[in-house]
């Protein structure tokens, strides 16, 4: 089984999308423990966060893709995670985004999602990917709209009502 050495690095204007490092865990756990994580399975206790952090790494190994850690170029801090999630129980692979406290409102999620969506279309054969959004998560709905997505249907994800938003296709060079 091969893994995280092979997580591709993608650079955008303000961010580096890269694999996980152990020192990212504190920022990961702070987000997961906060009320901001309420739409993505949180808030989580520290042990559960560590388990989730490990599972994020193992996801790359099991699926060949996963969520990138977003490194803020200017400060080198972990600014969030964006990438393709396909945990057991998912309807299909999902483009997901989590932006950590202090990095909101600067367009970073948009920037990283565009890069990840293009990568998924070009390298993973996933064009017109979807994103799950909790109906009350109005910020994520706004970002999805800005990304050109449309509300496709309502589903249950692990027993919780959820919306599937469909992304537009990326133009992939042959």
């Amino acid at each position: 089984m091969s893994l995280p050495a092979s997580v591709p690095v993608i650079e955008t204007e303000d961010l580096i999308l890269r694999g996980y490092r152990e020192q990212d865990f504190e920022a990961f756990a702070r987000f997961a423990a906060s009320d901001r994580a309420r739409f993505v399975g949180g808030p989580r206790a520290r042990y559960d966060s560590w388990r989730s952090f490990m599972a994020g790494i193992g996801h790359w190994s099991l699926r060949g893709y996963g969520m990138w850690m977003l490194e803020h170029r200017e400060t080198s801090e972990a600014a969030g995670r964006v990438g393709v999630i396909y945990n057991d129980g998912w309807h299909e692979p999902e483009l997901g985004w989590h932006i950590y406290d202090g990095f909101e409102g600067r367009g970073y999620a948009y920037q990283a999602c565009r890069a990840a969506r293009r990568h998924a279309a070009e390298h993973l054969g996933m064009n017109s990917i979807m994103s799950y959004i909790a109906p009350a998560n109005t910020r994520s709905v706004r970002l999805a709209e800005r990304l050109g997505c449309w509300h496709e249907r309502d589903v249950e994800l692990l027993g919780t009502p959820c919306q599937i938003w469909r992304h537009p296709s990326e133009q992939v060079s042959a």
Binding site: M1, S2, Y47, S49, R51, M54, G58, N87, D88
Partner: protein, 189 residues
């Protein structure tokens, strides 16, 4: 630091300890989601959470350089349990753990696998002491820990299991796994 995944392949007379393979998930899931079997290890409520555990174990290997091996029967190639070294966030120390799947109990498989994993941790990882965390009432695991020479040390609160007993294994010298004067590990059978 870049994370990487190096999972060795170890052998015993009857078993192979190797990297988890996606095909191992089904028997592991059956174990983890069965409260009558997994109560001493940590029960997962359903298949999706069991899959997260499976993925987390691989992440544990990447972060720590050790984790749970899949135990495979040499004779049939079938996965029959997991054993390895485990130390997630909040654990008191690295521990030797073992699980045997349904139908493989009572054959000494856990003893054979856990002893091999412990030797590997001392000889190859260079660990100098090891523990096993056992939930009170898990008499089968206590018996196995004692058969491996481990002794009860204290009771503490584990972040995943609650009240937990810590058993201490014999160290590398007591097991004859000392390094030579030249610093290289002794060969062992």
């Amino acid at each position: 630091m870049t994370l990487s995944l190096h999972i060795p392949r170890l052998e015993t007379p009857r078993l192979i300890l190797r990297a988890p393979d996606p095909a191992d998930f089904e028997p592991l899931c059956a174990f983890l989601t069965d409260p009558t079997r997994a109560w001493g290890f940590g029960v997962e409520k359903d298949r999706p959470t069991a899959w997260r555990w499976f993925a987390a174990n691989i992440g544990h290997w990447a972060l720590r350089g050790y984790g749970y091996f899949t135990i495979e029967m040499k004779e049939t190639g079938a996965p029959c349990g997991i054993s390895g070294i485990w130390e997630p966030e909040g654990w008191p120390e690295p521990e030797v753990g073992w699980v045997v799947f349904d139908g493989y109990e009572g054959k000494g498989i856990a003893y054979e696998a856990a002893t091999r994993a412990r030797d590997w941790a001392y000889t190859d990882l260079g660990l100098t002491t090891l523990t096993s965390n056992i939930v009170p009432g898990n008499l089968r695991s206590v018996a196995l820990a004692e058969r491996m020479g481990a002794t009860y040390e204290r009771t503490y609160h584990n972040p995943n299991m609650g009240e937990d007993m810590l058993y201490r294994h014999p160290g590398p010298s007591a097991l004859g796994l000392d390094t030579d004067n030249d610093g290289s590990p002794e060969a062992y059978a």
